[in-house]
Every structure is written in C-alpha cells, then in structure tokens.
C-alpha cells in the first residue's frame, strides 16, 4: 500500500496532537474494535475555532487525516468547519488508498462530533445544525467505509 508524501508527512509529523484541557467541545468517533478512534478538542471564540487538538488510535491514514483535518479547520468559523468534507481532507492529502477512505470519513465526523458537543454545552440542540453523526459501524456500512 502506498501513501502519498503528504500522508507520510502528516503521519510522521502530526500537527495539533494533544488535548485542550478547557475545551469548548470534544468529539470522539470510531471504535477500537474496528481499529480506529479519533478524539477532537476545539476551543471556540465568537464562532471561530481558535484552537484544535486531536488524539487518535489508528493506522497511518487515521493519524494523517486527523492531523490534516485539524489544520483545515483551525482559525475557521464553525460554519466553514462543518462544510469540510472527507473528500476535501483526502484531496488535501493528495489522496488515500481506497481501503483508507473511511479514515477521512472519521475525520469529518470527529469535527462534527466536537461541534455538536460545543453546541450541546451552549444549551443549543446541535441536530438541526450539525445533523446526525452516524456511529462507525462497519457491519452496516454507515461509517462510510467502503470495505
């Protein structure tokens, strides 16, 4: 399996690794049984994601997509962050091997989960804004994983 140079760069030197102690929103997606879990922390000021960190259990692509996703939403408005698709994450990484596409789906979901948590903490129902975040469940394919 061949990873692009960008994937390898983000895997070898992941950006924004860690946690935010006083995070405004925390999202966790995936499950250990499938082999990947992403946890994303965001700090929000005036509707802008001013800081973002992640922790990921998973393969090289899972770590690289987490890293790239954090870069793509940092200093962006929540609205912009919610528009980030897994395809955009993949393109920014110069592509992923077909079996790793689900990692980019997880990255997209992790952002949505963190934003949902932020809204919930603000006392706002996130569902109309963020939409439903499917559980990663390989069996029914709802994680977007094409395996």
């Amino acid at each position: 399996m061949a990873y692009s140079e960008k994937v390898m760069d983000h895997f070898a030197n992941p950006r924004n690794v860690g946690e935010i102690v006083d995070a405004d929103g925390i999202g966790e997606v995936g499950n250990a049984k499938c082999g990947d879990i992403m946890k994303m922390y965001i700090k929000v000021t005036n509707g802008v994601i001013t800081d973002v960190k992640f922790k990921t259990f998973g393969c090289g692509a899972a770590i690289a997509t987490s890293s790239m996703a954090t870069e793509l939403i940092k200093d962006k408005s929540i609205d912009e962050a919610l528009k980030l698709t897994n395809k955009a994450v993949m393109e920014a990484l110069d592509g992923l091997p077909p079996v790793k596409v689900h990692c980019s789906v997880l990255a997209e979901q992790a952002i949505k989960a963190a934003v949902s948590d932020y809204y919930t903490k603000q006392g706002i129902d996130p569902t109309p804004i963020v939409g439903a975040i499917p559980e990663c469940n390989h069996e029914d394919g709802s994680c977007g994983c094409d395996l």
């Binding site: 922790k55 990921t56 259990f57 393969c59």
Partner: protein, 393 residues
C-alpha cells in the same frame, strides 16, 4: 540511516551462495530439461540432483519430491488433490486448525463449497492444537488431516510427531504446511508419519516462486496443473531449473547449519522478548518455548499495528503486524483471534522475525526503537488514555 530487516517470516534475502549455485542455470545452462541435447540434459541433471538434496533434508526419497511454484501451490495441490481422490472412496471430511495459512483455509473453503465437511481444531491460547482433540475429531469418513508445522504469525510449533502418530493409528492421511518450519526444526517424514509436506524456498534465503510438495510414495493426489509430463507426470510446466537448484541449495544450507544457527537466533529472539516484555500492558502471543527460533509476536495495548510499523519503518526497522489495517481487511489477524485475543488488542500486534543475517546490534536497536514508538503512539491514543484512567479508578 540504519536499516534492519526483521521480517524474515514474510520473506528472506537471497543468500549469495544460493545465487551462485543458481547462476549457471540463469545463464549458460538454459536448456529445457525435457530436451535431449546436452544443455537440456545438464539442466535435467541439475534438477534431479536438487531433488535428491531436498529429499535427503526430510528423510524422503527423491521420487517423492514434486516441484511447485511455492507454498500456496503445494498446499492447494495437497489438500484439493487428496480430497478429490478420497471423495471417490466416500471420504469427504477434512480436519485442520483455525489458524492455518490462507492457502490452506481458502482451499478448505473451496472444498466446503463442493460439499466437503471441514472440522477446524481449536488452537488454544498458547498457539498449540491438542493431539487428543485431533484423536477425537477423526471419523470413519475423514479423508485428510492438514495442520501446519509452525505458524507464520506467532511461530508456534505444533506437536507434529504426535499428530502424525494419531493419523497413522487411524489410517488417515496427514499433510503439514512446513513453509515456516523447514530449515528451522529437524523434519523426518518417516519418523513423524508425515504423508504430504509443503515447503518453499524464499523463507530460507532461496528464490521466490519455487517450492515443493513431498508426497509419500503410493499416494496420488489429483493433478492440479495439467499439461506436459514433467514431475513424473503429476505437475506440468517447464521446470524452473534455477529455482529448483536454488531451493535445494537453500534447503541444504539451512539443514547443515541448523543447530548452530537456530541457537544463535533463539538467543537474539529471547533477548527481544525479554526486553519488550518490560513495556507495560504488553503480551507475548504464543508459547514462549515451542516457537520458531526467530519469531517474536507481541501485542501492545492502546496502539494500532500499522502506525507502529510505519514509525518503525521511519527508524529503519522492517517488521510486520496482524492489524486489520495491514491485512487490507476489516478484521485483525485470524491467527490472533484464533488464540482468543479480543479485536482491540489484536490490532496492536507486532511480529519481528529474525534470521541468521541479523545481529545483536540489530536487537539492541530494536529494543530501543520499539519502546520509543509505543510510548509515542500511546501518548496520542485515546484508547491508552482510557486504559490509564480506568487503572486509576
């Protein structure tokens, strides 16, 4: 950067002396062994000398050695070939184990689809099948027992002599996939009652694409590859002469150096196991002693195997893992699941397989690299975070 090749269970580098033995058959002696003129006859002679060397290594007769393209073909031929012949005698039951190589398991799947009944023996948590369970599983209509000599992932060596004796007692044919074991443990097909045995060259510093199937005299598995009369009419195709010579050369070298070499490799392997066992929440997969000399397979909780391999690769270490991500499928290694590991732990496995070309310095380097990488990945793992917080409670 230092480069350490520690994935010898996947394949091994070709030994210079093997290449030297092969060279004439890749250059001047290019004749077809079936031809009558001298370069054909010379090639034929080389294949027959090679066959005798291979036979000697396992205490078989040269006429019982059939050259194939490697381990997978040997396994397919042995299993499907015997099954089809035995089916004509009304025997359509085959016994194997849950952690065989896919060349065996998928051959059995194919037979199952054709109406054969398959019993897979449990591989216990130590990575070993129990002879008494084989004894109980054999039935009147059992056509074949196929159990690997040593496992490719966790390296555990099965009690082959006992299994062979049980098969003999019941009059059932016994095949073993010895692809990993060959050259690493003494094999005697007579003493161990082995009826068919698969081997391949590239696991013992021979070339890729050449292997052999030992078939005890008197057994005639159905032919898998039809065509010319090569291999005593049992396996068609112009001989891979250089490959055959390479296989024999590799086998001969492995057998003649076995005692000293395996002692040295085992000592290195034990240092690895001892050193890496100091990592918290790590575990060795498979029995500590009944395993191949070069095999170390461990799980490290809280991390995923592909990340581990890629980081080790960045540090120059080539190793392997049974994680789902490295297998290209959803599930982690069927071998690790077979010995009872839960999915989330099986994802974090590391296999290091040493050969004679590794050094104590390599071991030192790996002993430094692996804990570093494990700590790094754990520091960014939400699973590890959870494990640690549960520990505190």
């Amino acid at each position: 950067m230092r480069k350490i090749y520690a994935d010898n269970a996947a394949t091994t580098p070709l030994a210079p002396e093997v290449l030297k033995d092969m060279m004439p058959y890749l250059t001047e002696v290019y004749g077809n062994p079936s031809s009558l003129y001298s370069i054909g006859a010379d090639a034929k002679k080389a294949t027959e000398l090679a066959r005798a060397d291979i036979a000697r290594a396992i205490n078989a007769q040269p006429k019982e050695i059939f050259i194939t393209s490697g381990g997978s073909e040997s396994d397919n031929w042995a299993i499907k070939g015997v099954a089809k012949v035995m089916a004509k005698k009304g025997k359509k039951h085959i016994i194997s184990s849950t952690f065989e190589h896919h060349a065996v398991l998928h051959s059995l799947d194919a037979l199952k689809a054709e109406g054969f009944e398959i019993t897979l023996l449990d591989v216990h948590s130590d990575g070993l099948v129990r002879p008494e369970e084989l004894d109980q599983a054999i039935r009147e209509d059992t056509a074949l027992v196929t159990i690997m000599y040593a496992n490719n992932e966790i390296g555990t060596i099965q009690p082959i002599s006992e299994l062979g004796a049980i098969c003999k007692k019941h009059g059932v044919l016994f095949h073993t996939d010895a692809v990993q074991a060959m050259g690493n443990v003494p094999i005697d097909v007579q003493a161990q009652n082995i009826d068919l045995l698969s081997m391949t060259a590239h696991k013992l510093h021979g070339p890729k694409g050449c292997g052999a199937l030992y078939i005890r005299s008197g057994i005639r598995p159905q032919i898998l590859i039809d065509g010319g009369a090569q291999e005593r009419g049992q396996r068609a195709g112009t001989e891979n002469v250089a490959g055959i010579v390479g296989l024999a050369s590799a086998v001969k070298n492995a057998v003649s150096t076995m005692e000293e070499r395996t002692k040295r490799i085992t000592a290195m392997r034990n240092r690895l196991i001892e050193g890496l066992s100091k990592i918290e929440r790590s575990r060795l997969n498979g029995d500590k002693d009944k395993r191949l000399p070069g095999n170390m397979n461990m799980c490290f909780e809280g991390i995923e195997g592909e990340g581990l391999l890629l980081r080790l690769d960045l540090m120059g270490v080539c190793a392997s893992s049974g994680s789902a991500c490295t297998s290209g499928s959803l599930d982690p290694s069927h071998v690790l699941l077979a010995i009872g590991l839960p999915h989330e732990i099986a994802h974090g496995s590391l296999r290091i397989s040493l050969s004679d070309q590794n050094t104590q310095e390599d071991v030192d380097y790996i002993l430094k690299a692996v804990p570093e990488v494990v700590s790094y990945l754990r520091a960014m793992s939400p699973v590890w975070e959870r494990i640690k917080s549960e520990e505190k409670q």
